[in-house]
């Protein structure tokens, strides 16, 4: 009886993880396909399609664009989120709870709505569709997240540490740069990497707000329009690899924090 339950548990786990990971495994597997279609039977392994991806100027420049948008928009979102969290945690502001609610609200709004809203706004003020526009969109979606993470880390104990710095003669900007920010370093790092992962594979906003130079997810979508091709598998695998790298870095930072 017991062994039957055990067997059922194992089968259940295999099914669950299979359900989650089989599509990814298939994608990665057929990126090594030697022939022209990503369908069984598997004919590889071959690096032919990776070569094609890296030789494609449009894809490589989109990859670099994506990285630039991710890094810059995440840095801006983290900085703004940090300042907002510090303001709300350390000063008594009018209607503080309502304002905090408003700042986290974009978390609940769909990317499509945010993207369309920004599109309409940018159109009306004559701001051109561009990577900058998409970057602004990514700041809009990531700032609430950065704010929430950082705000949760600014408790009374941290406030006391800042008080101690002021007591010892630190000016306000010195408190921020020498004490508050370094003390929250792990949370700042986490906000930054989480924002990076979200920005990295964000499609809708980038699709709506870019035109000639665009990000990798939009370029992949362009590729898909011309039908299935192991090249899309190869570029998808690369995207997946970079995402995993972000997550690992993120975990590493948090692991180091919880150990100390």
């Amino acid at each position: 009886m017991r062994s039957a339950i055990r067997l059922a548990t194992i089968i259940y786990a295999v099914l669950i993880y299979g359900f989650i990971f089989l599509p990814v495994v298939t994608l990665v597997l057929f990126s090594f396909q030697a022939t022209s279609f990503p369908i069984p039977p598997f004919s590889g392994p071959s690096l032919r399609w990776y070569q094609a991806v890296l030789g494609d100027a449009r894809l490589t420049s989109a990859l670099l664009n994506s990285l630039a948008v991710a890094v810059i928009s995440s840095a801006v979102a983290t900085l703004l989120g940090f300042l907002a969290a510090w303001g709300f945690a350390r000063f008594r502001l009018p209607a503080s709870a309502l304002m905090r609610g408003l700042i986290t609200l974009p978390l609940t709004v769909s990317y499509l709505i945010i993207g369309m809203g920004l599109l309409v706004l940018f159109n009306s003020i004559g701001f051109p569709k561009s990577l900058t526009a998409a970057g602004i969109g990514h700041v809009v979606i990531n700032l609430p997240l950065c704010f929430a993470i950082l705000y949760s880390q600014m408790g009374e104990h941290q406030a006391n540490i800042e008080r101690a710095a002021r007591d010892l003669g630190a000016k306000e900007w010195q408190v921020l740069t020498l004490v508050t920010a370094p003390m929250l370093w792990p949370a700042l790092f986490a906000s930054f990497f989480l924002s990076m992962t979200f920005s990295w594979d964000e499609f809708v906003i980038s699709f709506l707000l870019t035109r000639f130079d665009t990000t990798l997810p939009v370029e992949i979508w362009n590729l898909l329009r011309s039908g299935l091709n192991p090249k899309t598998n190869a570029v998808g695998s690369l995207v997946f690899l970079v995402s995993i790298a972000f997550v690992l870095l993120f975990e590493l930072v948090f692991f180091r924090k919880s150990r100390s």
Binding site: A165, L168, G169
Partner: protein, 348 residues
């Protein structure tokens, strides 16, 4: 001697709540002042006002003759040792201690040298390169003390500095705090709710309750001649009962008429307090308290702590500290008495 710190009629209101009610206090140079009181008595509020973290609703604070009432903490000649130590977690102990000097523009080699000296003073010369999380609670406490002392403040403020330590470490740190204070000569203002700590440390003991100063003076005086019923019960234990002055030096109590030296005018309702160590048994020549039934005996090594309910007033729980060899057991009927010169007569 002119006071180092003068607190003049300071009140602090938080909305409708009055945390400090017209408090005035002088602090002498080189003294160890302890603010003693239960939570909510206003002692921490007063310390925050001295440190500049709160600006009082009304009143004035002078430090070294200078009006500091609205001056921010960074500009004051005070530093604070926080209850949770508030060390900078990302800096080494050396950098923590040197922080105040860094803010004053002291060069890094000089900073390190002085940080080392102060760490030696607090007994942690080997901690310089460590991070705060590698230290024990007692060691962090010393680092916090060193960090506040290194900038040579006129007044050092300590907010329940020993609150997080275990009893043994606490007694040990008390002695060291006192010794360090004597050595550096800085005036220390120390907030605590522990009366033993207050008695062990204070040159000047300030008992606070409900936002007011109940009593202040040398710890010995505050203990032996408390000014009020509150300080008699908070600073040490007492048995409290009521009485009435009926003639000069004559007081009516539940135990009969007592002849006590007092200048309270006849007709006044008063309160009498009796320290447990002044209660004796089986000595009828002293002031009799009558018979009492022993309800609890706790052996404490050097003495026995006895609780008894008296026949003359069942509601009165008498506290007595009897010699360790006294033969008393729970349930015994015992004759209690006290010496008239030790009975405290309190008018408020």
């Amino acid at each position: 001697m002119t006071p180092l710190v003068q607190v003049k009629s300071v009140s602090q209101k938080f909305g409708a709540m009055c945390a400090l009610d017209d408090v005035s206090l002088d602090i002498a140079p080189r003294s160890y002042t302890v603010l003693l009181g239960p939570s909510g008595s206003g002692k921490t509020t007063l310390l925050s006002i001295l440190g500049g973290f709160l600006v009082p609703t009304t009143g004035q604070v002078l430090i070294e003759g200078q009006d500091c009432t609205g001056m921010p903490p960074a500009k004051r000649p005070t530093t604070t040792v926080f209850q949770d130590y508030a060390l900078f977690p990302h800096m080494t102990v050396g950098a923590n201690v040197g922080f105040g000097l860094r803010m004053r523009g002291v060069a890094s080699s000089e900073r390190d040298k002085r940080a080392q000296e102060v760490l030696k003073l607090v007994g942690l010369p080997e901690a310089f390169g460590k991070k705060p999380h590698q230290l024990s609670g007692g060691q962090r406490q010393r680092v916090a003390l060193a960090r506040a002392l290194v900038v040579e403040p006129s007044v050092l403020l300590l907010d329940e500095p020993l609150g997080a330590l275990d009893l043994k470490l606490r007694r040990q740190m008390q002695e060291e705090l006192k010794a360090i204070q004597k050595r550096v000569g800085t005036a220390f203002v120390h907030v605590t709710h522990d009366q033993e700590e207050a008695m062990a440390l204070a040159d000047h003991c300030v008992v606070m309750s409900n936002g007011r100063i109940e009593d202040e003076g040398p710890a010995e005086r505050v203990y032996s001649k408390p000014a009020s019923r509150f300080s008699a019960t908070f600073m040490g234990e007492s048995t409290i009962f009521s009485g009435r002055v009926i003639g000069s030096g004559e007081i009516e109590t539940v135990f009969g008429r007592w002849q006590l030296a007092t200048d309270v005018k006849p007709g006044s309702e008063i309160v009498l307090a009796l320290r447990p160590e002044h209660v004796v048994i089986d000595q009828k020549q002293l002031l009799p308290l009558g018979e009492g039934r022993v309800s609890d005996v706790v052996f404490q090594g050097s003495f026995k702590r006895v609780t008894a309910s008296l026949v003359k007033d069942e509601s009165l729980m008498l506290l007595a500290r009897l010699p360790a060899d006294a033969v008393v057991q729970t349930g015994d009927m015992v004759h209690f008495a006290c010496d008239p010169k030790h009975v405290l007569v309190l008018t408020r």
